[in-house]
Amino acid sequence: MLPTGARSGLLEQEALPTVVANTVLWVVAIVLVTVVLSLGLAQLLNQEFPGRRVVRWALIVPWAASLIMTAKLFTWIYDYYFGILNHALLSLRLIAAPVDWLGNDATVMAAMIAVGVFVSLLFTIYVVLAGVSAIPAEVYEAAWVDGASAWRTYWSVTMPPLRPALLVAVVLNVIYVFNSFPIVWTLNDRNPGFAHDTMITYMYKIAFKSSLRDVGLAAALGVVNVLVILLGVLFYLRTVSWREAEA
């Protein structure tokens, strides 16, 4: 139970609604994009082609690299003046002028989400790949003999056995992304205030960085964070189990 003072103090914070909205956007966007991309990439990596092993090994790098290092690296890539991204996009004529990816309110969240997807993707691909590769080839052959289209085969043959793997991928990603600190902290560090913070970086700022310097309030937010993630995961698991019971 939270101390009454801390609870009322937390709800009185003007930045809280923005931070909650940022957190929802951060988690939903990253998990959704990651899972959708992983489904396609796992299918690709499950096919036989020359160099498949090299591709699989190459994709381990973003996952194995330190998060803080990758986040700092993207700060450099996104740099307005010296970043390679603006230069590449200008060269390809995809943008007319350099973009301040991490300083513009309109782009900073999307820029952070892109990094979040980049570092979450590999783990999710491998979880889905484990599920895809466990499906026997005979099942696909049977679907082909029955005249099923590629789309029908995917939904009726590939997806049902993938559900447990997807469940694991979504739950672990939600927890991991919700609790992610280094990406938001590093890419958002030049922006004042809390306009692009998530619950985790907001908690840290309340305790150690903002004018509040209120460890009690940050601890109260920490308790809320744990409860939110537990309730979110339980809700998701119950929803999925209801659907499976109905199926």
């Binding site: 990439l41 690709l44 990596l45 096919q47 036989e48 082609f49 020359p50 160099g51 498949r52 090299v54 591709v55 190459a58 994709l59 790098v61 973003p62 690299a65 290092m69 990758t70 690296l73 993207f74 450099w76 890539i77 003046y81 010296f82 970043g83 390679i84 230069h87 200008l90 980049f118 590999l122």
Partner: protein
């Protein structure tokens, strides 16, 4: 092997290569940046590869007593 099958394998290999390049591209930027002299880090327009390669940067880091202590 039929032409269609060979074409499919080539397309898959191309897609796989593209995915691997996207995954490794940020780290290629990191490696190239690590091999640039200080003055080349802030030039416009930025370059991916160094004009003057400076592999000695790695030796400087490895020779730093602070780095060894952290290691």
């Amino acid at each position: 092997m039929s032409v269609a099958r060979a074409g499919r394998r080539a397309a898959l290999a191309g897609a796989g290569l593209a995915v691997a390049l996207v995954g490794l591209a940020p780290y290629a930027v990191m490696v190239c940046t690590a091999l640039k002299p200080e003055g080349e880090l802030r030039i416009t327009p930025p370059r991916l590869t160094p004009i003057a390669w400076q592999p000695g940067n790695v030796a400087v880091v490895l020779g730093d007593p602070g780095f060894r202590r952290w290691l």
